[in-house]
């Protein structure tokens, strides 16, 4: 069956911003899908609000809408574009839910849009817990005993037939959002309330827990001709009870006999047929009783998923690409296997290696969060590693996490492994509760003499895995005790995945010594190919991994090759933005005739798609692993400035080993990062800095702060994403901070800056060829200084800043770039206070905002940076003028607060956001409104605004509240704020604080009487009160702002939504508008002056 010719234009919906449970994997899938459809001659229209994606690059789809991924806004795109079909399975749960809504409200029928890949019936059957259970019953498969409920009362009645612990799985949510485990009635009530709240259809499954059962997943593909293949089996090391996204997972399944595996395979085929996924992929999860082998079906996702991305990377079978082709009518046997190119896609990949995926958490950012791992996903990223054995892949996976563990290594202290003490009993007590550090606790337990059997009893981790771990411990002991270490011992340890650093620690040596010994003995990894067929057929695609095995299959590219270091697992502060830069630059280098070599360990990314580079090494980004690849490849050079802090940290070590770093020199990076050297540079260039100092001891810090004057901003040097950054108002807090932060980076001092209160922050991204510097974009932050730049909304071009001030910042940026000899990208952050421009930091590398700037202006900064890095001048490239845009683009950050119960939503210098969206329109108000809607913070057009702010913010609040009042909003306020406003003539209703009685502020929020919350922290006494108000607003999906400037922007946005026509336009149109010759490079339309803004 060849492709369909009755459809020509296809709409694809992306997954929107990166959130926990819906990450970069959907950029990977979506990009593949768009490319696959275009290849077949279809016209592709894309909607995605996330600018930090490859898929939203204007050359990927034909028409690219960076608009909110909501039914209302996608309907506008449909109305405008009139697509023939909608492919809903590539954008995660978000796309699926939007497609369902558009199907149910008749939009799709009205415009004659056909759902392809999975139809509404199939989606409903898979996603609706009750329908799914019935479907399983029809085909004779068992699901855990359970019942679907729609209210707490129903739930309490239902549990009479179930036993605790009970699991809640809300319908139509992603990453298990709102799900959890209840051990008693009180926990259950709380759980149900949350689950119903977070389910868009207010329904949840209550399920008999199968905690501790073995957990497996199968990735299945089906074509329209009913051919079905299983792409991959995955076994979770962490048994049922821990979300698969938070589990260490292994592919292929390790402990299933063929008989059991085939039963699971048969079940999967029956399921995909019964649910009726017409053409595409799905993921099916199973639980298996370790004692009896009883198999239960847990759930099925009728779309690509995080697991399918992992399975694609683990096997080389591009699920999304094939899925897109199946959706337009192809059969599996009509499509080639993209790796071998000689065999068809209608086969099941076989692996001659083991893949281990490890989750990366961000609890260091949220110390108050509940870190227990449950059925709701809490990790923010993952690493994947490939080895010839489980042990090798496991250790590589852990060191690829970049959490300062060179392998399966216990922390320096028990606290690092979330243990109060290191004795066996403490560890035993801890093991029963899964925590992010459990795998390291297991090692401590084994080292403390707890048997494999007992660890199994406490954790339910399969004894096979534990035995593998025990073998690692035995090997360590032998290696440590060996009188001398020669080639056989070293080789044997390397084959078990031990890093040089681990071996050095075991022998009391330095990592470099072990490496020198090893190299002297000629012990190097061999690189093997991921070929989908275990070597049965020749493979054309160099997708490689290292192993200490015999035969190396990697042909070095030599001088023709350029290595690009990726950014490793996603984490807060280093996300998909950096992958975007790496991919873009890599594609540009290919266009320039170079052959590109990508190194990365993150399976969610586009960069680890095997057809993005000429060679892909799926390897941890450590000095050891990178040096081995460089040693083999002997490339022209290595690009380190695009993958964030991960490659940057390796720059010095690589250079010391004689590796050529392309672009900005490590020396220049050091000048920018080294406080003293930077201070001198700024002084020489005549750029103001906030008063500052450095300290390597607490006394130095106290003295420096005294000189500088409080409040001060303190942070360790060499960090990304504001890790351990804090605003400190007095000496005791400083002492307290310093004690804890000193361990963050012992070899680097702590930096202390005067904190500029109420200053406005500005980010500038620029491009430099060493001589000429072009400003890519100037972004004014919406939130004031003190909020991490990654968490602040920002607007491009800036408004409410004098043109002269903008020019000053541009000039400073050029001066820094040229003085540092930047070859490539540079990012400078400024604060503006009372007309004075202060430089906060200079980062001579690609920044988090590069994708946003590139999308907003249509000028691809990483592409140009790549060209510059290999010797082209900006003049050659025709890039001599700063891009100007006659419209407004707003970036808004997206936070994981709904996924992390108990975490305060207050922003600060520590970065907390996981993703971003962009709104683009003619005016600031509408662009900001779109960004808010895209970030799931849709603003009210009428109703009540509840304000409660500290004294400092009251003057700024007044004009905002006056505007809301004029627009007809009711104003509610707590007593102090109410008095202030009333005395200045604003009609305001007073509301009780929580401790003042009831009904109080939170009651109003719960009962739906508040439509917008404006809250700034009131001080220590009422801190709890504030916190409750903010959490309540979050839970009840009431939009809130915690800064005055954001409140102001919200006001502009509501005004725009009330008065302007809501329209959508694709990037290609915006850019055409920007490029119209003769368009004056003036500031774009905006809603008049910004009154009251600081």
């Amino acid at each position: 069956m060849p492709k369909r010719t009755d459809i020509k234009r296809i709409l694809l919906i992306g997954s929107g911003p990166i959130v926990i449970g819906q990450g970069a994997e959907f950029d990977y899938s979506g990009t593949q899908a768009v490319k696959a459809l275009k290849e077949e001659g279809y016209e592709v229209v894309l909607v995605n609000s996330n600018p930090a994606t490859i898929m939203t690059d204007p050359e990927i789809a034909d028409r690219t809408y960076i608009e909110p991924v909501t039914p209302e806004w996608v309907a506008r795109v449909i109305e405008r574009e009139r697509p023939d079909a909608l492919l809903p399975t590539m954008g995660g749960q978000t796309a699926l839910n939007v497609a369902m809504a558009l199907s149910e409200d008749g939009t799709l029928a009205k415009y004659g849009v056909e759902l392809i890949g999975a139809d509404a019936r199939a989606i409903r059957m898979a996603e609706d817990r009750r329908e799914f259970a019935l479907a399983m019953e029809r085909i004779g498969l068992k699901t855990p005993a359970g019942v679907v409920v729609k209210s707490v009362a129903e739930a309490l009645k239902a549990v009479e037939t179930l036993e605790y612990p009970i699991i809640a799985r809300p319908s139509f949510t992603l990453g298990g959002t709102g799900g959890g485990i209840a051990y008693n009635r009180a926990e259950l009530e709380a759980l149900i309330e949350r689950a119903l709240d977070l389910s868009p259809v207010h329904s949840t499954l209550l399920e008999q827990s199968v905690l501790g059962w073995k957990e497996f997943e199968l990735e299945v593909m089906r074509d329209g001709f009913d051919n079905v293949v299983i792409v991959c089996s995955i076994e979770n090391l962490d048994p049922m009870g821990v979300h698969t996204g938070d589990s260490i997972t292994v592919a292929p399944a390790m402990t299933l006999t063929d008989r059991e595996y085939q039963l699971m395979r048969d079940a999967s085929i029956a399921i995909i047929r019964e649910i009726g996924v017409a053409a595409g992929g799905c993921n099916i999860q199973f639980a298996v009783n370790p004692e009896t082998g009883e198999m239960l079906v847990i759930e099925m996702n009728p779309r690509v998923s995080r697991s399918s991305a992992l399975a694609s990377k683990a096997t080389g079978f591009p699920i999304a690409r094939i899925g897109a082709k199946l959706a337009v009518g192809y059969r599996l046997d009509e499509l080639p296997n993209d790796i071998t190119k000689t065999t068809p896609a209608s086969f099941e990949p076989v692996l001659d290696y083991v893949v281990v995926k490890c989750p990366r958490f961000a609890f260091e950012k949220f110390p108050e969060a509940d870190a227990r791992l449950t059925t709701q996903m809490k990790s923010v990223g993952e690493s994947m590693a490939i080895g010839r054995t489980f042990k090798e892949a496991f250790q590589k996976g852990l060191r690829a996490l970049e959490i300062d563990r060179p392998g399966w290594t216990v922390g320096q202290t028990p606290v690092d492994d979330r243990l109060e003490a290191g004795d066996a009993d403490t560890i035993r007590a801890a093991l029963g509760t899964p925590m992010p550090e459990r795998i390291f606790q297991v090692k401590r337990a084994m080292l403390a003499g707890v048997s494999v059997k007992e660890v199994h009893g406490l954790t339910n981790i399969d004894p096979w895995f534990l035995q593998q771990l025990a073998e690692l411990i035995a090997a360590e002991a032998e290696f440590r005790a060996a009188p001398a270490v020669g080639a056989p011992q070293l080789r044997s340890m390397k084959r078990m995945g031990f890093s040089d650093r681990q071996l050095a620690d075991l022998r009391g040596k330095k990592e470099a010594d072990i490496r020198a010994e090893r190299w002297a003995l000629g012990i190097h990894p061999a690189y093997k190919v991921v070929d989908t067929c275990a070597g049965e057929f020749p493979s054309k695609t160099p997708y490689l991994y290292s192993s200490y095995d015999e035969e190396n299959e990697s042909e070095p590219l030599g001088e023709a090759g350029i290595i690009i270091l990726g950014s490793g697992p996603n984490r807060i502060g280093q996300g998909v933005e950096f992958d975007y830069c790496c991919v873009r630059a890599g594609l540009a280098l290919r266009d320039l005739g170079y052959r590109t070599i990508m190194i990365n360990s993150n399976p969610e990314t586009v960069s680890t798609d095997f057809d993005i580079s000429d060679k892909l090494y799926f390897e941890p980004l450590t000095l050891e692993d990178v040096l081995e690849i460089v040693r083999l490849e002997q490339p022209k050079g290595v690009v380190v400035q695009l993958g964030g802090q991960t490659p940057l940290k390796l720059a010095k070590g690589l250079e010391a080993a004689g590796v050529k770093i392309l672009g900005t020199s490590p020396e220049a990076i050091d000048v920018a990062e080294d406080r003293r050297r930077f201070e001198k540079l700024a002084r020489d260039l005549g750029v103001e800095q906030p008063p500052n100092g450095t300290a390597t001891s607490v006394e130095q810090a106290v003295a420096a702060a005294l000189r500088i004057g409080y409040p001060v901003l303190v942070r360790p040097s060499y960090v990304l994403g504001g890790r351990a950054m804090k605003i400190v108002y007095d000496e005791p807090s400083l002492r307290d901070y310093f004690d804890r932060a000193a361990r963050v980076a012992p070899e680097h001092p702590v930096l202390i800056d005067r904190f500029l209160e109420d200053a406005m922050e500005v980010d500038v991204d620029a491009l430099c060829d060493g001589k000429r510097c072009v400003i890519g974009g100037v972004m004014q932050h919406i939130e004031e200084a003190g909020i991490h730049s990654g968490d602040s909304a920002c607007v491009l071009p800036p408004f409410a800043i004098d043109a002269a001030v903008v020019e000053t910042m541009k000039r400073h940026t050029r001066d820094f770039a040229v003085a540092l000899g930047v070859v490539g990208l540079i990012n400078v952050q400024y604060a503006v206070k009372s007309g004075v421009v202060y430089v906060l930091e200079v980062n001579p590398r690609g920044s988090r905002t590069v994708p946003f700037v590139s999308k907003a202006t249509g000028v691809s900064l990483p592409r140009l940076a790549a060209a510059v890095m290999v010797g082209h001048s900006l003049g050659d490239l025709g890039m001599t003028d700063d891009p100007q845009v006659p419209y407004v683009a707003v970036k808004e950050a997206v936070f994981p607060f709904t996924k992390l119960p108990n975490v305060d939503t207050l922003l600060g210098p520590e970065m907390k956001s996981t993703g971003e969206v962009m709104g683009i329109d003619d005016t600031f108000g509408m662009a900001y409104a779109k960004a808010q809607i895209g970030a799931d913070g849709a603003l009210p057009l009428e109703g009540s605004v509840f304000v409660t702010v500290n004294d400092h913010d009251k003057p700024a609040l007044l004009p905002i509240v006056q505007r809301f009042h004029k627009m007809g909003f009711r104003i509610l306020a707590t007593s102090g704020t109410a008095q202030y406003l009333a005395s200045r003539g604003v009609p305001v209703e007073s509301v009780l604080k929580v401790w003042e009685g009831r009904p109080n502020a939170t009651d109003l929020i719960v009962s739906g009487a508040v439509h917008l919350l404006i809250n700034t922290p009131l001080g220590k006494i009422t801190a709890r009160d504030d916190y409750h108000i903010r959490r309540t607003a979050l839970q009840h999906r009431v939009p809130y702002t915690t800064t005055m400037s954001a409140a102001h922007a919200a006001c502009d946005a509501i005004d725009a939504l009330r008065t302007r026509v809501r329209t959508v336009r694709c990037l290609q149109e915006w850019y055409a508008q920007a490029a119209v010759p003769g368009t004056p490079a003036t500031q774009p339309g905006r809603p008049g002056p910004a009154p009251g803004r600081k």
Partner: protein, 335 residues
């Protein structure tokens, strides 16, 4: 030779089709789930030797009755661990399946070389008669609806299990049983099993098969049985470069266009194209391998005789092709 099965090492090692062979497992971790008493394809390991990347020291599975390593050691089957099995597989892919020897030391001794040279080549080797049982046996209930005579050329146990589950009693007969004896048994159908070695060397079976099939007795062959049917009706067989061994081979069913993912284990194949079996006008091709276009299934144009090259009984491998057993039973019904 090598097999790419990810699971099912116990079934592979006990499959009589592997008689006399040294098997390289491309799956790197072997022995994880131990061995059990239910997944045996014959009473003992049939392979001559096993090459693996890592043999698991411990095992874990609720059905496990012991460790793979100990079981193989007890049966005297050598296992070589720590082999770069991918390197070996790539070598075999280039050079084809070849004779091998398992010996101690880093380089082969003169003695080992001599013994290797002395070992017979697979071509022209009749291993089936050795793998076959020597005495008839009956498997299944006397009350079963159907009675099948199965020629055992090295038959896998799961084939019997499949027949039994479809209400068939099976009389398993030795490879060299004459046609007259089969007629005496008055079966409803005839089955020709899988087995090791070169089909062309199993000369004694061909006239028997031709005679019985021509009598209108429904006849079904798997693997070696498939090749023997091809030969019996005038076809030819050829040695594949490195064989098909694994559980992921896509096969197209020509009549419907459907793709089956099949379990395979064969080094020889019936020559032909999607249209015809070379030299056998009475046969038509029903299934074809999508990787290399080789013949995977055939059918007699007029007689109720059909065969598949792959293993519908699986064990190990996917169950996509199990329906062939039902198709055979339907053929029995229509007689």
């Amino acid at each position: 030779m090598f097999t790419t099965n990810l699971t099912g090492y116990q079934e592979v090692f006990t499959d009589p089709s592997y008689t006399g062979q040294i098997v390289t497992m491309t799956a790197p971790m072997i022995g994880n789930y131990g061995i059990n008493q239910e997944d045996l394809e014959s009473s003992k390991p049939q392979v001559q030797g096993i090459l693996v990347r890592e043999l698991s020291q411990e095992y874990s599975n609720w059905r496990a009755s012991g460790s793979l390593g100990e079981w193989l050691a007890g049966k005297g089957i050598p296992v070589v661990e720590g082999v770069d099995t991918r390197r070996l597989t790539r070598y075999l892919r280039e050079k084809g399946a070849m004779r091998g020897i398992v010996a101690e030391g880093d380089t082969p001794s003169d003695d080992a070389r001599k013994r290797l040279e002395a070992s017979p080549k697979m071509e022209g080797l009749d291993l089936a008669s050795a793998a076959s049982i020597t005495k008839e046996r009956v498997v299944g209930s006397a009350k079963a609806k159907y009675h099948i005579v199965a020629y055992d050329f090295g038959m896998k146990e799961n084939i019997l299990r499949m027949f039994n589950s479809l209400d068939c009693r099976v009389t398993v007969v030795p490879a060299k049983t004459p046609a007259a004896r089969v007629r005496e048994l008055e079966p409803n159908g005839l089955f020709l099993s899988n087995g090791p070695g070169d089909p062309a060397a199993v000369t004694y079976a061909m006239p028997v098969i031709r005679e019985l099939a021509a009598s209108g007795l429904p006849t079904f062959g798997i693997c070696l049985g498939h090749q023997l049917i091809g030969l019996a009706f005038g076809g030819e067989t050829t040695k594949l470069p490195y064989g098909h061994r694994g559980g992921n081979h896509p096969v197209r069913e020509i009549e419907t266009g459907r793709v089956l993912i099949t379990s395979q284990n064969h080094g020889f194949a019936v020559r032909g194209t999607t249209k015809n079996v070379t030299g056998a006008k009475e046969l038509e091709v029903t299934h074809v391998n999508l990787n290399d276009g080789s013949v995977e299934g055939l059918r007699h144009r007029t007689l109720p005789t059909f065969a598949v090259q792959y293993h519908p009984e699986a064990s190990p491998g996917p169950h996509d092709a199990r329906k062939h057993f039902q198709e055979f039973v339907q053929a029995l019904d229509s007689q």
